[in-house]
Symmetry: C2
């Protein structure tokens, strides 16, 4: 298998667990079919996530993370803007190049929500993507304009979460 | 890393896309950390899913599928009951054995909803699992009793889906 006939735009948003993992599960499925996958992590990444230790074993999967190495808490810093724009620049190259079939923009919705990158840039990217390229945008607080241009939107709704019971994030499960 | 200090029970339910992929993404993260993962597919599987072609490349990940080779449409057949019970039997062995750190019961909620397996059996499995074992139960229509015993529940809510626009399931993306 080489190309999708028609690539769509998928959005995974909401406050529940499972957005990034759904994107990685999709990446796994796609490489299983011989599709080429590029995962670009906005905000997050650059630090210790379990998936980082295994992606190099998956032929056809490329990952680049643009996190600053810790979470953004409160007001974003200049470094957050710089890194998010680097991620956007790479995204434009990867998408317009058409070499990759599935491009995951992990946490891009958060980067948009925080104003680190411009909505117009991302909307243009979606509009001008090669037909066969599937885009997956993850992250809570996806802007309405993104939901409108998406073909598929799933809201991961938190019904119950152990953090609220004081269980800390666990290596291998939450990161 | 060998064991989780405390394994929880996670449920991914709802009518939206992303439940099985979230479980597989979690599996990927876990094996990246050196955890041992067993994915048991109720209902589904035994046929053509992209992830099947790549799991054997992931050390520490074992998958066994108990689907009959096609979807259950309408009333379940005897073969569906037989296969779901085989899946449950394996699940009991895998969970109680304690050798695996993360056990994914893919589509088990559907098997419960259709009455292919007994709720009491699954509740007992949850109650009696070794402390370090993390359980992930996926599938729409998770029974309330399952939601109650879960530590984490995410509802994948379908906001928009291309099937409703007549886009068929695509190899490498939907399966």
């Amino acid at each position: 298998m080489t190309k999708l006939e028609k690539g769509l735009v998928q959005v995974y948003t909401g406050n529940g667990k499972g957005k990034t993992t759904a994107a990685f599960g999709l990446a796994l499925r796609a490489v299983g079919r011989g599709l080429k996958v590029y995962v670009i992590q906005f905000i997050k990444g650059g630090f210790d996530y379990g998936e980082l230790y295994v992606v190099d074993k998956l032929q056809g999967l490329t990952l680049k993370a643009f996190g600053k190495g810790k979470f953004i808490i409160g007001k974003p810093e200049e470094v957050d803007v710089v890194k998010a724009r680097e991620a956007l620049k790479l995204t434009k190259e990867v998408v317009s190049g058409g070499k990759y079939d599935l491009v995951v923009l992990d946490e891009v919705n958060v980067a948009l929500h925080l104003g680190l990158i411009g909505l117009d840039d991302v909307l243009r990217l979606v509009r001008e993507k090669p037909v066969h390229v599937e885009l997956v945008l993850t992250g809570r607080n996806a802007p309405d304009e993104i939901l409108q241009v998406a073909d598929l939107v799933t809201e991961m709704r938190e019904v119950k979460h152990p953090y609220s019971k004081g269980v800390p994030a666990r290596k291998g499960i939450e990161y």
